[in-house]
């Protein structure tokens, strides 16, 4: 029996050059459709036709040149060999859980600990909205959470080891520190907290408490450097970072990038991070995924993709962070394959699709106060090629110790020591990390550097099953299913909403059980109002409390 409904209707003549064919869904009815990925005007587009709802053409990747470069790093991963949904035929996005056909083990697991939030951002679809029909408060119990983490650790061939606590706003849970402790007890080494940071700004002791429980870092919403672009936490973010300093918890800034809203501030966000480089470890730019029904015109207004963001960062940093500095996430594969070949056991790998994410490292040159991308002193492409070749050599029967010795002797030739940031020995660091699994010197890397990442989550307009099948950011659920991000959130009616209904309670019931109104925890904008009155002490003003103001360049 065919599991999949594929429409074979004659398609209109293609406008542009066909790059590849894939599958997608209809944004109206979720029907699985054949889709073409095509090139025209130097950009990459997705084109599909629903027999019932018509044609959709959507920007897929803002630069064909970058698409081509990134696609050369395409390598399928080892997959997740302990499926919760065993099936023969692949039917994405219908059987997530993970099913036997998923091609990436969990790179980062998400656990929603509550869907309550202390903000009510107009564009957010994650939090429970009182008054809406079918609104459920979803807060898994600690026992459920322990079970979910065990499901993550049971993944094969590589058990998950990196977890994000998310919401809603997770700090609304009084037992958050206990939850972190449970996740640690179950053996997860890296735990990050996705937060708007407000409660941590108001209560620095909370950061210390969470750190003591085992928190690794914050994943802090941060959409821009002005109150207009970042109404969420413009006034509070500097205080959140100060709480992080006190608690020695690093922070990752997470801007959701929307064209015509905040895409002019990507460089400004980077400068803000640069000023706080002692505590900001990374920026994770996330081009917006467009949810709900949107007209083409509206989508064109807001749609932005990874290459567009990379180009804007180049422009807005006056060429400090160039477009060539960026590599797609799966470009790490040669490193993984080399370590795997050397260590003779499966390693954690980032095997997502090349169009899903990109990254680079930048280092701060303290003399010039400029950011130097790693590619300006490392021949990264050459190094990756070399590792690919050496992994092949070991896998083809070569002596791994001799190959490792060759690697150690050769590594220096990829690094221009005259341009390498002072006090850094990148060659030694790489040898230690890849061959000896000694990460002690990675700290020196972090102190003077930031990772710049880019992750483009999909939506119903641009969804590509080829990408989805390789997704490695997954949600853990109380029914023990592990569901890829872009199924969970792109088709919430199949996944997120059903799960939250099944394991949640009605708002009325929650209010009765807790003896408080849902809206009682809403943030009242205390810092914003105080900041407007006292520019010398709060947020974006010239700071009297040694907190860096939020400004652009």
């Amino acid at each position: 029996m065919a599991l999949i409904q594929i429409e074979h209707k004659t398609e209109p003549a293609l406008q542009g050059r066909l790059i590849r064919r894939t599958q997608s869904i209809c944004p109206d009815c979720n029907r699985i459709l054949p889709a073409n990925v095509i090139e025209h005007d130097g950009k990459v587009w997705m084109h599909k036709v629903c027999p019932q709802h018509g044609e959709v053409e959507e920007l897929y990747f803002g630069s064909y040149e970058m698409y081509q470069k990134f696609s050369t790093y395409w390598t399928d991963g080892k997959g997740a060999h302990a499926p919760n949904v065993p099936i023969d035929q692949c039917a994405c996005p219908m059987n997530c859980g993970l099913c036997s056909n998923h091609l990436s083990h969990t790179g980062l697991a998400n656990i929603i600990v509550t869907n309550r939030c202390d903000l009510t951002c107009w564009y957010c679809f994650f939090y429970v909205k009182k008054g809406l029909e079918g609104a459920y408060v979803y807060e898994p119990t600690q026992d459920h959470i322990r079970g979910m983490v065990r499901a993550l650790k049971a993944e094969r061939p590589v058990g998950g080891n990196s977890l994000q606590i998310t919401g809603g706003e997770p700090t609304l849970r009084d037992d958050l520190a206990d939850i972190i402790r449970i996740i640690r007890e179950e053996g997860v080494d890296h735990i990050q907290l996705n937060t708007n940071g407000i409660n941590l700004a108001l209560n620095p002791d909370l950061a210390i408490k969470l750190k003591e429980a085992g928190l690794s870092n914050l994943y802090l919403s941060f959409d821009g450097v002005s109150p207009r672009t970042n109404p969420k936490n413009h006034w509070e973010a500097p205080y959140t970072l100060d709480s992080c300093r006190k608690a020695h918890v690093g922070a990752v800034l997470v801007p959701t990038v929307i064209k015509s809203v905040n895409d002019h501030e990507l460089g400004g966000i980077l400068r803000f991070a640069q000023k706080n480089i002692d505590i900001v470890r990374a920026i994770s730019y996330q081009p917006v995924s467009l949810t709900g029904r949107m007209k083409k015109q509206e989508r064109e207004k807001y749609r932005i993709t990874i290459p567009d963001c990379i180009h804007r960062i180049e422009e807005q940093t006056e060429g400090e962070v160039t477009r060539d500095a960026w590599f797609p996430v799966p470009s790490c594969s040669p490193v993984t394959h080399f370590v795997e070949a050397f260590a003779r056991k499966p390693q954690y790998e980032l095997s997502i699709h090349f169009a899903c994410g990109a990254g680079t490292y930048v280092f701060l040159d303290e003399e010039s106060n400029k950011l130097i991308p790693m590619t300006s002193f490392v021949d990264l492409k050459g190094l990756l090629e070399y590792l690919d070749e050496k992994a092949d050599e070991i896998n083809s029967g070569g002596n791994r110790y001799i190959t490792a010795a060759k690697f150690m002797a050769k590594i220096g030739s990829f690094i221009d020591k005259t341009k390498q940031p002072k006090g850094m020995n990148l060659g030694k660091l790489l040898v230690n990390a890849t061959l000896k699994h000694d990460y002690s010197s990675v700290g020196q890397f972090h102190l003077k550097s930031m990772f710049l990442g880019m992750m483009h989550f999909q939506d119903k307009y641009n969804q590509d099953e080829e990408r989805l099948q390789r997704c490695d950011i997954h949600y853990l659920n109380p029914d023990m299913r592990i569901i890829p991000f872009c199924s969970f959130n792109v088709i919430p009616e199949w996944y997120r909403d059903r799960i939250q209904k099944k394991y949640g309670i009605t708002v009325e019931q929650w209010e009765k059980e807790h003896g408080e109104k849902l809206e009682a925890k809403l943030y009242k904008g205390t810092m914003r109002r105080l900041g407007a009155q006292q520019h010398d002490v709060m947020g974006c003003a010239t700071s009297a409390v040694h907190i860096e103001p939020i400004t652009g360049v």
Binding site: R20, T72, D76, C90, N101, L103, D464
Partner: protein, 186 residues
């Protein structure tokens, strides 16, 4: 026959075929670049085995990435042998990546992307096209007249293609020398 013995039989039959070396003309001035055109194919077991059904099996064994390194060097005849190297050897790397395609025409299948020596990725339309993209070489090279010096020369191209251990072919290397080409440098 087991998969291993079949694969080694196919490796043993792999060879370089149809090698040819041509120049755009016969005589050159010594300070002129000499445009040479070299073509050859890797034929035999490796090629014959590089087909979709075999990719499917290789993919199941998580053998998804192939590197093919080709070295081309030129030599001139001194006495009775082609012993004098001309110019520097050139190294070309081609790659093949097997992946699970969602192309509705090849639903649920393994397909291949070939990345050529100029890092251009292409998705072939058929097995035969994939074999050709990966294993057929047609390249032009520039030699300098000064690399040869004045006089009449006989030159050859020596090619060597090697690859690692894979489901569809064991680790191996094949080489060949082109028929000699007469070049006059004035």
């Amino acid at each position: 026959m087991s998969h291993e013995s079949l694969a080694s039989k196919q490796a043993a039959s792999t060879r370089i075929g149809s090698i040819s070396l041509k120049a755009n003309r016969e005589s050159f001035l010594v300070d002129e670049p000499i445009k040479l055109s070299l073509s050859f194919q890797v034929v035999g077991g490796f090629r014959d085995n590089f087909t979709q059904p075999v990719w499917e099996e290789a993919y199941k064994a998580h053998d998804v990435s192939l590197r093919l390194t080709c070295t081309v060097s030129f030599a001139r005849k001194v006495g009775r042998v082609f012993s004098k190297k001309v110019g520097k050897p050139i190294r070309l790397v081609r790659k093949a990546r097997l992946f699970w395609t969602r192309n509705p025409e090849r639903f649920n299948k393994t397909w291949v992307m070939v990345i050529d020596e100029n890092e251009v990725p292409t998705l072939p339309k058929s097995d035969a096209e994939a074999q050709s993209m990966l294993l057929d070489f047609v390249r032009t090279f520039d030699l300098l007249g000064t690399d040869l010096g004045k006089g009449e020369h006989s030159i050859v191209a020596k090619v060597r293609v090697k690859w690692g251990q894979h489901y569809y072919v064991p680790k191996g290397m094949v080489g060949a020398t082109s028929p000699p080409l007469k070049i006059i440098c004035k």
